[in-house]
């Protein structure tokens, strides 16, 4: 297992800069008053393809040799990683193969195709997904880019907190959501190298708290069937992300579904930005753990803004 280094982060940032946004950091006097902390929201919802995942995907795509790149890239995510990999592949002019369950929402399929991704459908089961994915890889020779358990991807995600440190001085803590752990691992990679005094918090839905339980137990525990509105956070830690989480995270905090939806809606209402349920989890945990963050300067990673506007979680169908 290759553990990416801070040199990999520096190389990643140079490599991907032409293809990503240096996203803005927003502040909100309303949320500062409400939490007693000074919050700095790193807005990856404004990122290309609408999420931070374009950092890691671009690093993987643009790090390939011309020979490898010619065969394209492949993945089996159906979320932001698929969009991001499709976007990055499009910028390099190579194919991106995405294996998705035929039952995936049409909106997600349309979004992937909108960024130029080539979809191969599978049945909605792990067995079928793995079989179909193996066929696609065999037929194309495309390079597999895992959504998070990949050193290239983690080095790419690490550029987000590198920018945040350049944009905001004197941070006491950074908090980000945790699902598979790609963003948190990138955050650990950057902060442990260039700002080790900054505490790192991960925020997770109570109803998908495998990282929380893994962290407390000291080894990876996978959830069987997590169910949360924060659908980007259902995936489990893997060995590479576990390495970073277990070594560098100060604590993992959790929030209930209601707390997540309330924080999401309040962010839309007061900050006028569209954020995904996943990235409302950090704010939800700050609101319920006031004593941990009050008086502190806290970076909050807003991971993405890809939301189904026709099915908002606070509106009953």
């Amino acid at each position: 297992m290759y553990i990416p280094t801070y040199d990999d982060v520096l190389a990643a940032h140079e490599r991907i800069k032409p293809f990503i946004h240096r996203t803005p950091v927003l502040t909100s006097s309303y949320f500062n008053d409400l939490t007693g902390a000074e919050l700095f929201f790193k807005c990856e919802n404004f990122q290309k393809a609408g999420a931070f995942k374009v950092r890691g995907a671009s690093n993987a795509v643009f790090g390939l040799s011309d020979e490898m790149a010619a065969k394209g890239v492949a993945t089996h995510s159906s979320g932001n990683h698929a969009l991001s990999l499709s976007y990055a592949a499009g910028r390099r002019g190579i194919p991106c193969h995405v294996v998705m369950p035929r039952t995936a929402p049409q909106a997600k399929k349309d979004a992937v195709r909108g960024y130029g991704g080539i979809i191969t459908e599978c049945e909605p089961s792990t067995t079928s997904r793995e079989a179909v994915f193996a066929e696609v890889q065999a037929a194309t020779g495309a390079e597999f880019v895992h959504p998070y358990n990949d050193p290239r991807v983690i080095a790419g995600q690490a550029t987000c907190s590198k920018e945040l440190l350049e944009q905001v001085e004197g941070l006491d803590a950074v908090i980000a959501p945790i699902g598979g752990g790609g963003m948190i691992s990138g955050t650990c990679l950057t902060l442990s190298n260039i700002a080790p005094q900054v505490k790192i918090y991960a925020a997770e839905p109570e109803q998908a708290d495998d990282a929380y339980r893994s962290f407390k137990a000291g080894h990876i525990i996978a959830d069987d069937a997590p169910n949360t509105v924060a659908d980007g956070l259902k995936v489990p830690l893997k060995e590479l992300t576990w390495h970073f989480v277990s070594n560098h995270v100060s604590d993992i905090l959790t929030a209930s579904e209601e707390e997540i939806v309330d924080a999401m809606k309040l962010t839309w209402k007061r900050m006028k930005i569209v954020i995904e349920p996943s990235c409302a989890v950090p704010l939800a945990t700050i609101l319920k753990n006031r004593d941990v963050f009050a008086g502190k300067r806290v970076g909050v990673i807003i991971t993405g803004g890809n939301v189904d506007l026709d099915a908002l979680p606070w509106i009953k169908a």
Copy 2:
């Protein structure tokens, strides 16, 4: 009738700077591709109190003598002007009286009270509103601040395009929504003085097109009962805003309800910002008048972001 000058704008900007945000200008490669223009979105949805109206309200409030200010300010808007005037009065530590129909949505009353406004309810008729407002003024001596037909307010709104010109070079045109005409008048005031080469477009809902018809007729025509999702744009022009519109606006463009809602939703989806229906009207008209704007550098005023998140116009109840 006092016509505000550009010196009034300069004085207004100095006066209100401590109380407002210098809002960011966002761009979107997606919308640039879609329109063939280069669009620069001046994001007053990120403004204090969630709308540009805080500029004019602050200028009125902070321009009062101490003696006048002590008696407070008053208005009878139930929208962004009421929020903004309440916010500005709160910053000066003086009362703000708002006359609102008792039938106004609870959310609007809560929002005004949230900014410290003191509500006096009237019946939902013009007669009652005027009678109750006269009583409030007689009892308090509060200074009436009209939402738009007031030189102090127009000079305040004019600071928005002053900032935009400082932030973006070489604009060919600026477009803003038109209701009562406060923002457009401020835009005319600034541009006609310091950038007369920049064309000024106003955007209006077809279903509340009194400004369009006035512009074509050469005199003010008031709508009787306009009905549009862009509820901030239902009010008619008055003599002061008509002065600016008739002298400086290049053209008024209109959009249908469906076009407005589509542009609003598309902005949320692609730019990840929460905007009101009113400020989707300019983008809707740009999308349908591609030939007017293609190849041009166009400033688009995003006027506000105060939306009822429980009643979005693309979701059927």
